[in-house]
Amino acid sequence: MSDISTREELIQGNKDLKTITDDVFNPIVAKPNKFWFAGLLLAASAALIGVISIVLTVWKGIGIWGVNKTIGWGWGITNFVWWVGIGHAGTFISAILLLFRQKWRTSINRSAEAMTIFAVICAGLFPLIHMGRLLLGFFILPYPNTRDVWVNFNSPLLWDVFAITTYLLVSLVFWYVGLIPDLGTVRDRMKTKFKKAFYRLLSFGWTGSAKHWQRFEIVSFTLAGLAAPLVLSVHTIVSFDFATSVIPGWHTTIFPPYFVAGAIFSGFAMVLTLMIVARKTMNLQDYITINHIELMNKIIILTGSIVGIAYLTELFIAWYSGVEYELFAFVNRATGPYWWAYWIMMTCNVVSPQLFWFKKLRRSIWFTFLMSIVINVGMWFERFVIIVTSLHRDYLPSSWEMYKPTIIEVLIFVGTLGIFFTLFLLFVRFFPVIAMAEVKTTIKNK
C-alpha cells in the first residue's frame, strides 16, 4: 500500500471546510426524497411483521418454531451469530483502523458504527426470544435475587451476556463521543427554534474549544485502544458457545480467530451494501469514493481468505485427528442432507471473494454491491451449517432429526432486517452521516 501522503486526496471535488459542512448538513434539513420514504415504509412494515411474530412466539411458546429436541438451535441462534458478526465492522473501522492511522476510515466510520449498534440490537433480541418466556431473561442477570442461586459464571452462554452488553454499551459511547462535535455543527447551522433546541440538547454544549479537542482526541484514542481488544473478544466469546461443547463440528480450537475473521468479513460486506446505496441516494460520491470501496474490498479479500483457510483447516484436522465422529461430522456437512447449505457457504465465502484479486472487479460498484450481498448470504449459511449440521446427527442414531424453520422463524428474521433498516434510515435522516470534523482534518488546502 502506498504512503498516505503520496496517495490522491481521500475525498474528491476539491472541498473546503465550508462545503464539507454544507454537504453533511443539508440532507438533515432537506425534505427527504421519495426513496427514503419508500424505504422507511418497507422497513417499518417488515419490523412490524417481526414484532407480531415475536409476540406470537411469546404468546404460544417456542413450539411454533421448527426447532426440536435434537436441533435445539435453529434460525434463532443462526441469526444471532449473523447479526453479531455484522456488528463487528463498525468498531473495527473506527477503533482498529484509527490505531493504524488509516485516515480513509473517516468517510465511513460514523455510519459503520451506527450500523454496528443497530446490528447488535437485532442480535440481542434472538437469545431473549429463544428463551420462549421473556421472564427467563432475568435469570441471566447476576443480581441479588430471591432464588439465592446465582448465574453460572462457568458458562460461555453467560460470558456472551457480558460480552454483548459491554460491546453494545462501549460502541454506543464511542459513537456518541465522536458525534458530539458534529452535532454541535448541526446545532449552529439550524435556523428554526425547535430544531436548534433539539440539537443543543444532543450536542452536550459543544463549543470547539482547543482544550475540548485535546481531550476529545485522547478519549478517542483510549476508547479505540479499549474497543480493539473488545471487538476481538466478542466474537471469540460467541465462538466459545460452540467451541467449549463436546459436539463434533463445534469442539474446535480454531473457532475464535475463524469467527472473528468471519465477523469482519460479513461486517464489511454489510457496510458496503449500505454505503453503496447511501452514497448514491444521498449524493455522497465525493466522500465515499471508489478508492474507499476498493480499500474495503481489500479487507474483504484478506478476511475472506482467512475464513477459507479456516474451512480447509477444519476439514484437514477432521481427517488428521483420526476421530471418527469428527470425520463423520465434516463428511456429512459436505455430502449429507444439508450438502446444499455447505456448498452455498463454500461458493459464497471462499470462491467468490477471490474474484476481488482483479483490480477491475474491485473497482466496479455494481460487482461490489452484488458481492456484498453474496457474502452476507454466505456468512448466514456458514452459521446455519455450523449449527444445524452439527446438531442434526447426534451420537445416537435414534435421535437423528431434520430441521426446517416455520414461517414464524422466517418472519422474525425478516422483522430484524426491518428493525435494522428502520433504525439506519432514521439515523441518516437526523444525524450527520459523515464524521465531518474528522474529514476536515484530512483535506489538504485547509
Binding site: 459491554t166 447551522r189 452536550f204 459543544w206 470547539g208 481531550r215
Partner: protein, 170 residues
C-alpha cells in the same frame, strides 16, 4: 469582561498567531476550531491530559471487582459444583473479568471527559461564534486587565498573522 477575538480561515495562520501571541507573553483565553488542529495544544502550551488515568483506574477497579464478585458468588454466596470444576474456577472467570475491565474503563474515561469539559445534557456553554464549528478558527483573549497599548499589540499580532477579522466584545 472585555474580550478580543481574531478570526482565521486557515489552520496555518491560526497556529502562527497563537505562537506569536505566546512568544510575546500574551495570555490566550481559548481557541475554537471546527476540527482538532494538530500541534495546537503544544503551541498553546496546554498540559497533557490526565484522562487516560481515569480509564486505567476504572479498568483496574472493573477487573478486580469483577473477578472478586464472581469468586464471592461461587465460593461464598452459593457454591455449586459445575462440570467438575473447582469452586474457584479462575480460567472460567477471565472472560467476564475482561468485559468488566473494558466496560468500567470506557465509562470512566467518558464520564471524566464530559465532567471535566462541562459537556452533557443541558450544558449551556457560551458559544463565541457559530462559525467556529464550521470553517473558522477563533482565538479569544481576555483584555479586561490590559491597557490600551497591549490591546493594540494584540490587534497588530492578529493582523500580521493574517486574521481575516477582529471582534471586540464587552
Amino acid at each position: 469582561m472585555k474580550l478580543i477575538s481574531g478570526y482565521f480561515n486557515k489552520e496555518a495562520s491560526l497556529l502562527e498567531a497563537v505562537k506569536s501571541l505566546r512568544a510575546n507573553n500574551i495570555k490566550i483565553k481559548d481557541v475554537f476550531s471546527p476540527y482538532p488542529v494538530h500541534g495546537l495544544d503544544q503551541a498553546m502550551g496546554l498540559r497533557r491530559s490526565w484522562l487516560p488515568r481515569a480509564a486505567f483506574i476504572g479498568g483496574a477497579f472493573g477487573a478486580i471487582s469483577g473477578f472478586l464478585f464472581q469468586a464471592w458468588v461461587f465460593t461464598r454466596a452459593y457454591p455449586i459444583k459445575i462440570g467438575g470444576k473447582p469452586f474457584l474456577a479462575t480460567p472460567s472467570f477471565i472472560p467476564v473479568t475482561f468485559e468488566f475491565a473494558v466496560l468500567f474503563a470506557a465509562f470512566s474515561i467518558v464520564f471524566a471527559y464530559l465532567l471535566k469539559s462541562n459537556l452533557g445534557v443541558g450544558a449551556n456553554n457560551k458559544i463565541y461564534d457559530e462559525r467556529a464549528t464550521d470553517d473558522r478558527f477563533v482565538v479569544v483573549l481576555d483584555t479586561s486587565n490590559v491597557d490600551e497599548q497591549e490591546a493594540e499589540k494584540i490587534k497588530s499580532k492578529f493582523e500580521e498573522t493574517g486574521a481575516e477579522g477582529i471582534k471586540y466584545e464587552e
